[in-house]
């Protein structure tokens, strides 16, 4: 195939001038005429250059590092590590806090389902100290008079477990929880573990005044014709501790034995539902209006 004549004549200086003219025209083309093809051409050209360019970049970084070398012992590095550790701790703390709040919320919901009074509200108080000298001793809570805590308020855990009452001396920001097994007496009723019969009146279930034994349990003499058996649940039936705590669980009957002096009565021993050693927070029912 023979090339056109004007191409065949493009040699020597004529070719140079032609190329220069083409270059001049292309250099002055508007953007819309160049954009569709020159950028692609550039990208194509950069492909074979990539290995050398990468090698050059590597050499450049070796000769003139882009950033100072990492020094693990540098003061700023140590400071950063401390900050990372601190923020990691805060992160885990917040996660644990969320978990605790969710538990707390569940407890509040469980109790609030029973407390339907506009005059009272529920707050959560954390245990900030225990009695170091004895097991199941008193606990110090981080809620006090400013939070609406009143002496004699019942403390509940897990929604329906009665664990004690607030001691008479309530501080502004803290209070003391007297564990239930330190109370001289607690009025209760004994219900079957499967629950009470809704058709039977509550008074048909035996009442029991629980007295602490000193071993962490309670004992009570129950005069009733109803069958008593281990596993029965003692529920609070004592108006001194407020409406919120009524019906909450206190303990489980672990032993039933006859009383020699009173043939119609039986002595029951009741073990607390919860071991208070691991107590971390309690729910308190306080008046709706908090004094300022």
């Amino acid at each position: 195939m023979q090339l056109p004549r004007f191409i065949r004549t493009l040699t020597g200086r004529r070719l140079d001038w032609t190329l220069a003219a083409i270059a001049f025209v292309v250099a002055l083309l508007p953007v819309y005429a160049l954009m569709p093809w020159t950028n692609d051409l550039s990208r194509l050209l950069s492909v074979p250059l990539a290995p050398v360019t990468h090698l050059g970049m590597f050499v450049r970084d070796q000769i003139r590092p882009p950033q100072p070398r990492f020094d693990p012992q540098a003061p700023e590095t140590l400071a950063l590590e401390r900050e990372v550790a601190q923020y990691r701790m805060l992160y885990e703390q917040s996660r644990l806090e969320v978990e605790r709040l969710e538990r707390s919320l569940a407890s509040l919901r469980a109790v609030s389902a029973r407390v339907d009074s506009p005059d009272s509200r529920l707050i959560e108080a954390s245990v900030i100290a225990g009695d170091p000298s004895r097991r199941n001793g008193v606990f110090t809570l981080n809620a006090g008079d400013r939070h609406g805590v009143r002496a004699g308020a019942a403390a509940l855990v897990d929604g329906d477990v009665f664990v004690g009452v607030i001691a008479p001396e309530v501080g502004n920001f803290q209070s003391v929880l007297i564990p239930a097994n330190k109370l001289p007496s607690i009025g209760s009723r004994l219900f079957p573990p499967e629950g009470s019969d809704p058709r039977a009146p509550a008074s048909s279930y035996p009442g029991a005044v629980l007295k602490p034994t000193g071993r962490g349990t309670w004992t009570a003499e129950v005069a009733t014709s109803m069958a008593l058996a281990p596993g029965m649940i003692a529920r609070l039936a004592d108006d001194r501790f407020g409406r919120a705590a009524l019906g909450s669980r206190i303990g489980v009957v672990v032993a039933v034995e006859p009383v020699e002096q009173a043939p119609l009565a039986r002595r029951v021993e009741i073990r607390p539902i919860l071991d208070l050693d691991g107590l971390s927070s309690v729910i308190l029912a306080v008046p709706a209006e908090v004094p300022r």
Partner: protein, 193 residues
Amino acid sequence: MRWSVYAVAILIAASLDASVGSLFAVGELRGQFLPAVVVFALLAAPRKLGVRIAMLGGLVADLLSPVVLPTQEVLIVPGPRALGFALGALAVIQLRSLLYRQNPLAGSAATFVFSLLAAVAFVFIFSIRSLVLDGGAPWWPGSGAGEVWRRFLGAIGDGILALPTLWLLGKTRSIWAFTTATRVSPGLARQSG
């Protein structure tokens, strides 16, 4: 001259300029390998190929130098450096007979002249472009005069970097297959030999 060797050489030079080029910069004085490679070829290749050799090098430089437009787009403009290199080549070709090629400073000086003229053409083309087409100039937001000064310093850098580059390229002269035509005139010495 082997065009393939030249093509590989300018591609490598352009790659090095794009990667390790910053190592050879002192402020605005920045040297590049590509002009030295082009000048090396210009000094040894046949004169008739000079402009084409230079334009090819300029085209590669154009294709690897995007311009940022006022619309924040990037544009490749082929031509300004190709024309600039062609202008530089015309000067170097004219200088060739005056230069003592064994002197390393001769190549360096030729590179300086080459880069300076290439810069003049480059600034001229882009000035027209920005005036006529209202397109972006590579020196924006700087001024054209500032670009001329920067290019002048760049030409000095090219001349300095040409010293080692031309020396290294001289070691590879055999693979370039330059044809040297030495004019021999008959004389007494030759006849006696």
